[in-house]
Each structure stands twice: as structure tokens, then as C-alpha cells.
């Protein structure tokens, strides 16, 4: 993957397949601490202990359309190749939390890329699933919680074109602030 935001997009699909009603994506990056931590958690069906152990094996998948599952192994590799770490915790009926820790200055660090696009596409394609997106830098925090948007929108769906455009602009504005561009 050319961007970590693509790994996030890929792994978040596992939460969709796990029938999660709430997915939380968190990116915490710090130049001061030379670190980036990406966490994807959900309240989906969860996995057994055996499945958790198997899930980082590229030749394990719960899918039936093909015999390999590369999403989690690639995400794990992206973290470990920077000297970071990777962790999955899951409980049946409660959900799964995937955490990737990076050493930001490492030569093999993959750029985060367009994480806002990942968030927008997730909402566009899964308007019935709630998403909490948090992006923290040394300068501040961006937070988008679709549950709060739903309170305003009522019966109007999150995938309404004007709503998606509002979300896109909101993320762009807030990103400029946390990257010091505004």
C-alpha cells in the first residue's frame, strides 16, 4: 500500500463485515514523540482467540471468494517495518481493536496519505454505520462523530450529497488547523 490511509480503509472493511454499528478510527501523530499510532476499533461480532492468532497470517481469511487475506498482514508489516508494533484484541460479541504503532522518522515509514478521503468514503459507502474519527497532532485534535451529525440531520441520511460535501469541507478545514496551515 502506498499510504497508511489505504491500510485503514482496508482494515475498516473488516469491521463492516463484522456487522459493527460503531467504528472508531483514531490517528495520533507526534513529531515531538516521533510516533504515530493508528487504532481501528469496532463493536462488531468479534473473533475467537484462535481467529485472532490466525488473522495476521496472509493465508487465513474468513472470506469464501478467495483463499488469502492480506489486509491485516500488510497493516502489521507497515508498523513493524518501522520498528513499531502491532496488536489485535478481540472478544466474541464485543468487538475488535486493532492498533498499529509507528516510529515516524524511520526510513521505511509509509506516509499517512489522505486519511480524510478514507473517512469520507467510509461514510459514503456505509451511511448506516456510525463512525468516530479522531486525528491528533502536536497542534491539536480533529474529531468527527457521525452520531452528533445524525442528531442534527434526523431522518436525512449521511450519504446525501450535500451532507458528504459538508463532511469533506469540515475535515479539510480541521486538518489545516491541526497541521498548522490555517
Amino acid at each position: 500500500m502506498r499510504e497508511l490511509s489505504l491500510n485503514v480503509m482496508d482494515v475498516a472493511q473488516n469491521s463492516v463485515r463484522a456487522k459493527a454499528s460503531l467504528v472508531e478510527i483514531s490517528v495520533e501523530e507526534s513529531d515531538r514523540d516521533d510516533s504515530m499510532v493508528i487504532t481501528i476499533s469496532d463493536n462488531g461480532c468479534g473473533m475467537t482467540e484462535e481467529q485472532v492468532q490466525q488473522v495476521t497470517d496472509p493465508f487465513f481469511t474468513t472470506r469464501t471468494t478467495r483463499k488469502v487475506g492480506l489486509g491485516v498482514p500488510l497493516f502489521k508489516l507497515s508498523a513493524e517495518q518501522t520498528g513499531g508494533s502491532f496488536d489485535i484484541r478481540s472478544r466474541i460479541g464485543e468487538g475488535t481493536t486493532t492498533t498499529a504503532r509507528y516510529v515516524k522518522s524511520h526510513v521505511d515509514m509509509t506516509p499517512l496519505g489522505d486519511i480524510n478521503s478514507t473517512v469520507e468514503i467510509f461514510i459514503r459507502c456505509n451511511p448506516d454505520i456510525d463512525l468516530v474519527f479522531t486525528h491528533r497532532t502536536d497542534l491539536g485534535e480533529l474529531r468527527l462523530d457521525t452520531r452528533e451529525l445524525r442528531e442534527v440531520l434526523g431522518d436525512v441520511s449521511l450519504d446525501t450529497p450535500d451532507v458528504l460535501e459538508w463532511i469533506r469541507q469540515y475535515l479539510e478545514e480541521q486538518s489545516q488547523i491541526i497541521y498548522g496551515g490555517a
Partner: protein, 124 residues
């Protein structure tokens, strides 16, 4: 700055249009393959290109762009399926963002399949 008041205005406009949208019998669907294989092959810019082209033409209420999983032809990713009610589903393969305006114009607007981009043409 984006405000919740703007979102309320959007809600009110959307409520006024919602009946219209639900009754649209010709709503088409664009499904972009977004499993690991599709994402790694460049599906995200393709999906974004469809969203932008459709918005530019004012067709966002008539065409839904969404994602699908792996359909088992990873070697042909990015794969895009176009579904128009009353017509056969068409599978476009190895789709690049620059191919998107032609698919939107020829197929989604004018109902002419872009044969040279389909899996049938690609496997000949």
C-alpha cells in the same frame, strides 16, 4: 468554518427532495471493488473520480457510488460494476481515473456500454 447551522439547512433542503429521490425509477449504481486487491491497485482515486464526475454533471441524486468487496478477479483490479435498472450489469476492469468521464458519459448518461473497458474485451 463549517457549522451545524449549515448542516441544519442541508437537512431541510434534503427533506424537501427526499420523496423525489425515492421515486426515481432509473437510479443507477456504480460499485467499486474496494477489498485489499482493489485498494492496492488504485480503487480509491477511481471511486473519487466517479463521485466528482457525477457531481460535476449534477447527477448525484440519480447515481449512487458505493464500494463492494473482492469478486475474485484480483488481476483485473480496479474493478467497477455498473448497474442500471432493466439492463445487464456491466463489469469494467483495470479502471483508471482518466477512464471515468467516458464511462459516466457514454454508459451512465447515454446508455452505451464502453465495450473496450469491459472484462470481455480485456480477456480477448
Amino acid at each position: 468554518m463549517k457549522s451545524l447551522a449549515e448542516l441544519q439547512a442541508i437537512r431541510d433542503r434534503a427533506r424537501a427532495n427526499v420523496t423525489l429521490r425515492k421515486e426515481n425509477p432509473n437510479a443507477a449504481r456504480v460499485l467499486v471493488g474496494m477489498a485489499t486487491c482493489g485498494i492496492a491497485a488504485g480503487a480509491r482515486p477511481v471511486l473519487n473520480a466517479f463521485v466528482e464526475e457525477i457531481a460535476k454533471r449534477g447527477l448525484s441524486e440519480d447515481i449512487t457510488v458505493t464500494q463492494t468487496g473482492c469478486i475474485g478477479i484480483c488481476q483485473f483490479e480496479p474493478v467497477v460494476e455498473v448497474e442500471i435498472p432493466g439492463q445487464d450489469k456491466v463489469t469494467y476492469v483495470k479502471v483508471a481515473p482518466e477512464m471515468v468521464p467516458k464511462i459516466v458519459n457514454d454508459h451512465l448518461v447515454n446508455r452505451n456500454v464502453v465495450t473496450e473497458y469491459t472484462i470481455g474485451a480485456m480477456t480477448k
